[in-house]
Amino acid sequence: MNKDFKQTSRSGSLPWLLQRISAVILFVLLLLHFITYHFLSKGRAVNYQEIVAKAGSWWFPLLQFAFLLTALYHGLNGLWSVLEDYTANKFWRLVWYGLLLTVGAVLLFVGTLTIIKLYTLPVA
């Protein structure tokens, strides 16, 4: 082994690949999402009743959950990669990893809760 070069940790291939796969999925989902919520409401404000009504259909929670998961994975994985660029130090890399994992877990929890609640809300 060459002592002049520090080995940090193996691999990185899976996150790299998943970042690209999630990117392609997001490309579709995010644009759809934006179009439905920001444009197709065609000049009317997003309406509580409408949303709750839509949320009650069977495909809504599935789609939203998939969206939530990919966006969170993609975003946090991306952030992790940025942080790694600026921290060569193994310890700090672990700290960031832990932090992002926690943030991810919390957001996933909150997000999932929202979706479930919306799904189960009574339509007025």
Binding site: F5, K6, Q7, S9, R10, S11, S13, P15, D85, A88
Partner: protein
């Protein structure tokens, strides 16, 4: 051929004398067909003998004279001054520690090269004559073997500025060159080495390396192929 007056701003650092690098301006007259290296020689030979820089072949093949001129990495010996006008700003390569003036410490650069095992690794005995390798197989690695190890790419890569441990484009290109050599059997070992936090995944396809490479090697393209190969290998 005519003489022209130019103003050359050089980042000087003399260990022992200077705390940190500082600018020095030389106003000199040179032939309009001069290269950056001619300018440095002129200053060193006629004006200030203490100026230090590396050079040898002065025909863009040895890789000694990579440096930063007006914000970009170039080989001093092949770069005519008329590309920049009459004001030159010459600095050592970014990212590397400065030994003196334009001379940087390249030991880490070569250490990284060594790390990726830059030599054919064979499982089979070599034939009596040459290995058979078709022109198409050679084509795969042809361009990557033109690398002169000038370090211009690694020094231009934003991923390597904050992280001196990043293998960098030159070493990764070398890994590509061997992994994709039809004669080689050592791909697995090398893939394990580049598949690392400080390996190929620190490359964010920024292309500064390609812009800097005096041999116009499509480094990023080869790194992309390398990444795909590593992914295939670890699935």
């Amino acid at each position: 051929m005519a003489m022209i007056d130019i103003s050359v701003k050089i980042l000087r650092y003399q260990p022992g004398k200077d705390e940190k690098p500082h600018w020095q301006v030389f106003n000199i007259a040179v032939e309009d067909e001069s290269t950056i290296l001619d300018v440095l020689n002129e200053i060193h030979w006629q004006h200030d003998g203490t100026l230090a820089y590396r050079r040898s072949c002065r025909s863009s093949i040895c890789g000694s004279c990579a440096m930063k001129v007006n914000g970009r990495n170039v080989l001093a010996c092949e770069t005519p001054i008329h590309r920049f006008g009459r004001k030159l700003k010459i600095e050592p390569l970014s990212g590397f520690d400065i030994i003196k003036d334009l001379v940087v410490d390249l030991d880490p650069f070569f250490a990284k090269l060594k790390r990726i095992r830059p030599y054919l690794i064979l499982d089979k005995p070599a034939p009596d004559k040459e290995f058979v390798q078709s022109p198409e197989q050679l084509e795969q690695i042809g361009e990557s073997t033109l690398c002169i190890l000038c370090a211009a790419c690694s020094a231009a890569c934003p991923s390597s500025w904050p992280n001196s441990e990043y293998l960098g484009p030159a070493a990764l290109l070398k890994a590509y060159r061997f992994i994709f050599d039809s004669r080689d059997d050592g791909a697995d070992q090398r893939i394990e080495i580049v598949n690392d936090k400080n390996g190929v995944w620190r490359c964010h396809t920024i292309f500064n390396c390609v812009e800097a490479c005096p041999k116009k090697i499509q480094i990023t393209e080869y790194l992309s192929r390398l990444k795909v190969k590593v992914v295939e290998n670890s699935l």
